[in-house]
Symmetry: C2
Subunit: 255 residues, 2 copies
Amino acid sequence: MASEPVQPVLRALQILEALNQETVTTLEKLHERTALPKPTLVRLLDTLIDGGYVRRISRTAGYALAERVLRLSNGFRYADRVVDAARPFMHALTAEHKWPVAIATFENNAMIVRAGTRHKSPFSTDPNYLNTKLPMLVSALGRAYLAFCPDDERETILAMLRMSSARVNATARDEKAVARLLSGIRKNGYASTAPVPGDPSMGLAIPIMRGADVAAAMTMRYFGSAMTEEEAVRRYLAPMRAAALAISASLEGRE
Amino acid sequence: MASEPVQPVLRALQILEALNQETVTTLEKLHERTALPKPTLVRLLDTLIDGGYVRRISRTAGYALAERVLRLSNGFRYADRVVDAARPFMHALTAEHKWPVAIATFENNAMIVRAGTRHKSPFSTDPNYLNTKLPMLVSALGRAYLAFCPDDERETILAMLRMSSARVNATARDEKAVARLLSGIRKNGYASTAPVPGDPSMGLAIPIMRGADVAAAMTMRYFGSAMTEEEAVRRYLAPMRAAALAISASLEGRE
DNA sequence: TTGAAAATTCCGCATTACGGAATTACGATC
DNA sequence: GATCGTAATTCCGTAATGCGGAATTTTCAA
């Protein structure tokens, strides 16, 4: 934020929020709620009406929202809320344990990395994965998602992966191996990255649940050369689980 | 709209709409979608970030919506959509049949008149009822709602009305009479206003359904002195029903 | 009718939004 | 790891426009 924010924009949004409080709002009430001068309110309301976001009911009754306001947030999906809610907990994990943490959501038969604490960690384990796709069966995040999602969802996803021509999804065709992998993950309660020769970076991933669904998966990245998987699990699994639970809880509170 | 709309406000809202198209959007893409100059985009995006509506993912990945956008429309309820959808149909009805038409939604044990074509009708049958409460058992709108809503909802509402001390709800305590009234309405497919001696204005009301629920009720107002109820029904019931069906359909299309 | 209260419009001033040009940051390629 | 090309961001002089107190209009109650 180099320069000052554009005042009329924030004021107009403030007015929209105020209008969301009730079905129809008088100018007087908006004046109370926003502390903006009435001429200013009228000017901005006229603008919002011009844009189709607000409707003037009558001089005395006041103003109300119009259908177009739905366009301002209908693209904001549940997955986004999980990511938002997870942020502070991820920072706390990295602050305490140093290793970077990341969160990914399922989209289009792959995991998309939605946020991470890479820049807050002293260890730069990875390139910037933000917004990149990770394969379901190779990445810790994908494995955690698959292992803990409902059975029918898993069947659907695996069927899609089997038809996929991408090399990273080839393992899907070995159904026995996949079943073994996933049931092992469920038993342990966490998933690990498929090791790549020459690359010491590893992930320890768990699901963030929403009822029976997996809302997202969260991973902690560490160097396999710095500690064994067992060591990582012993140190970090419990705090990660606590964070995942807290994230789920904070979401339920807001729904 | 006396003067010009406030430009930066509409531009910022345009940006928010563009951001709703996908999870994360690059500056370049926003530039294409909105045709705004990039410096302007950055300035407005910074403002939106300052307000908490947008988050900057990274220099290269771009920008994404933040949770706060939900506040811009979470007060816009389904009832508002029905009213918005109904508007053109109500105007068409009044244009063809001249009498004013109004729509009301159920709120707080009463019907609230949400919109009407009073000003477009040559007959001014009523004062401006906009945004006023109408009693459930006396008004045609209230009766239409009660008669066609699901049984358990009706039981709840009637129980509340029975406990009400308002005189207009007193009839609720005569359960037999209420049952007779409502089943008559269901049989006929429309509700009428309870006649008031000396007041010739009448309403002919039908429900606008949403599945098994009543989303709203719509009434046509006419002078009882100009025609009998039978005459009004014969002339207007069919077109009103057609409008109500069209409104329901146009809503389903948008959901 | 009259009067009071609330909504809206007016309008001159000062601020601020504007966007082309310059700069910086990034990541790809050798 | 140096260089280059591209895309994002900041700068900054200018013009436009948002601002809000005062004046006006509308509405409703008595």
